[in-house]
């Protein structure tokens, strides 16, 4: 009985998590534009999606910005984390607080202040400003996911490497980096996701000609969200699902080999 209850509870949680996505996928096949009518099965929205230049362009920018900003933020963030880790106590507290502030800061403040900064420095709002903004809000998340890994690290490892004749750089590359790699990858993925998700900061920092998906979806509010967006979201969900399955499958295989 207890097991039954536990299972039922878990099932309920998963239902709540996945029901919206399921509905979204189902309605991406609805021939009618409205959720109120089921007018039969169609693949039309998928066809139209790929012909929609605006959505395709937004998808392109969303992905380019997400990948670029995630990689650059990961490089800067990892370097910063290593630096912070080696700081003295007081300095470390100060810098860590400075890192936390952008995380807890509301997006709207970040977005608005970045926009004002860009306009103040006469930077034309567009691709570059959008990218800079995304890198900026991504860096703290990378730092915060890399630091714990550094804390877990055995201090003696680095010194042992030096004793064995490694140069500091070599020791970092061959000893420290592989040890903290899971944290770096977490940071990279987190940064990527946050960048794809972001609306508020993007809205304020982008200029003419560059839109992300979230901006497009938001701008459809007056006329209603076009089912093409359902189709696109379904495809994105499916891609992520397949990637996850592959990754899990492969890591399972690796473990078996060991």
């Amino acid at each position: 009985m207890k097991r039954f209850l536990a299972r039922g509870y878990a099932a309920l949680i998963y239902l709540f998590l996945y029901a919206p996505i399921l509905i979204l996928i189902v309605f991406s096949f609805n021939a009618s534009k409205s959720r109120g009518n089921w007018a039969g099965f169609t693949l039309n929205w998928y066809l139209e999606l790929f012909q929609d230049r605006q959505i395709m362009k937004a998808l392109y920018y969303t992905m380019v910005i997400a990948v670029l900003s995630a990689i650059i933020a990961t490089v800067i963030g990892t370097a910063a984390a290593i630096g912070i880790h080696n700081m003295k106590r007081l300095k470390k507290t100060i810098v860590m607080n400075l890192t936390y502030i952008p995380v807890v800061n509301p997006d709207i403040v970040t977005g608005l202040s970045l926009m004002l900064l860009f306009i103040f420095t006469n930077l034309q709002l567009g691709f570059v400003s959008l990218l800079l903004a995304h890198i900026t809000f991504n860096i703290p998340y990378v730092i915060l996911s890399v630091l714990p890994k550094l804390k877990q690290l055995d201090k003696n490892l680095y010194e042992a490497a030096l004793d064995l004749g490694a140069t500091p750089l070599y020791a970092y590359r061959k000893v420290i980096l592989p040890e903290i790699m899971p944290g770096i990858v977490t940071g990279l993925l987190l940064a990527f996701t946050l960048s794809v998700d972001d609306f508020v900061v993007s809205f304020f920092t982008t200029g003419s000609g560059v839109s992300t998906l979230s901006i497009i979806v938001y701008s459809m509010a007056r006329r209603g969200i076009n089912p093409k967006i359902n189709a696109l979201s379904s495809l994105l969900f499916l891609t992520v699902l397949i990637l996850l399955v592959i990754v899990n499958f492969r890591s399972g295989e690796n473990k078996n080999k060991e």
Partner: protein, 347 residues
């Protein structure tokens, strides 16, 4: 480690390819167009690009205010905008718009007389109308038996929890003002307080204050009455034949979205070319057909389905519409409307 190396390497490769394709040089003039979301037949943009060898950067916004903030802050150099009436008035007042050179827009002659020289642009120097519509009551014939002729029906106890109001400050306060027989642009505090009382009184009857989800709800028959924009009403009637649209006799709101050129534009001549192209009969018809809102274009209307032309929801007899107010820019007085709306919503 090797696994990660490979991952990073492939990412870098991907990026180089992506960036190289992005950096392809394009010599054409670039025209930046800023319109409402999903408010154009996109094939039209391609036609324009091919015909005039101009590249169009097409972006979208969701409210007049969002658009205004973007333009006002600078940084965004749009060439053509599609704001609504009261926003055009405000932008003219703040000297944000170019005067149009109508010699470059010969197709302006197709715009019907009723939509020229409207209050927001009295000499019609700054704007060319794109779409228009009204605000009215959409009702489900199976749930409402009596004829719908007045805003009063939204205050009828019979329809408790079956009424949908717009979650839009000016539209909802406007409905209450009209119900009481006042002007939608009133600056009389007593009238506004009366409207506030009416809205608070009505609140227990209201199922929800909705945005664009009003369409799904009405089509699914979840409510009996709703305040809607005429363009959406045509679409909802199409999806659910039980629905009917009524224009209350007390009057209502008439709105116009028009094309303008902001002072940030660097390509005014090309922007005028674009506006002219949008007024080309074939193109105007394509857009009207795709969007489903009412067109102010005389030739485009001729190509429409006659059934739609006869539908008073889409094309009401404008002469017969009395007391139809176009929203005016309220400037500083807007904060009174803000306060009233907040008090209604918080009550």
């Amino acid at each position: 480690m090797k696994k990660y190396n490979r991952l990073i390497l492939s990412l870098v490769l991907l990026l180089t390819v992506v960036l190289l394709t992005a950096c392809q040089q394009d010599e054409r003039v670039v025209l930046n167009v800023y319109n409402w979301g999903d408010y154009i037949d996109e094939s039209v943009i391609q036609e324009f690009e091919e015909k005039y060898n101009i590249r169009v950067n097409y972006d979208t916004f969701s409210t007049n205010e969002d658009m205004y903030v973007k333009i006002k802050a600078g940084g965004a150099d749009y060439d053509v905008l599609f704001p609504s009436d009261y926003m055009i008035e405000r932008m003219i007042k703040e000297d944000m718009l170019h005067k149009l050179d109508f010699d470059n827009i010969p197709n302006y002659k197709y715009i019907e007389g009723q939509f020229k020289n409207l209050e927001y642009d009295p000499q019609n120097e700054y704007s060319v109308p794109y779409m228009w519509g009204t605000v009215g009551i959409l009702y489900n014939k199976t749930m409402v038996e009596e004829p719908v002729t007045s805003w009063q029906i939204l205050w009828d106890q019979k329809y408790s929890k079956q009424i949908l109001m717009l979650d839009s400050q000016r539209d909802s306060i406007g409905v209450a003002l009209k119900m009481l027989g006042y002007d939608m642009n009133t600056r009389d505090l007593d009238e506004l307080e009366a409207a506030k009382q009416a809205l608070i009184e009505q609140k227990p009857l209201v199922l929800a204050y909705v945005g664009d989800d009003v369409k799904d709800k009405m089509i699914a028959g979840e409510a009996a009455l709703a305040v809607v924009w005429s363009g959406d009403a045509v679409y909802m009637k199409w999806e659910n034949p039980d629905l009917e649209y009524a224009l209350p006799e007390e009057g209502s709101n008439l709105w116009v979205d028009a094309m303008v050129i902001p002072k940030t534009s660097k390509n005014k001549a090309e922007a005028e070319l674009f506006i002219n192209f949008m007024c080309d009969p074939e193109i105007a018809f394509k857009n009207t057909d795709y969007i489903g809102y009412s067109s102010p274009h005389s030739e485009a209307k001729k190509m429409l389905d006659p059934e739609l032309l006869d539908d008073p929801a889409a094309y009401p007899d404008l002469e017969g519409l009395v007391n139809y107010d176009i929203f005016k820019d309220l400037a500083d007085y807007l904060k009174v409307y803000d306060r009233i709306w907040t008090e209604v919503k918080a009550h």
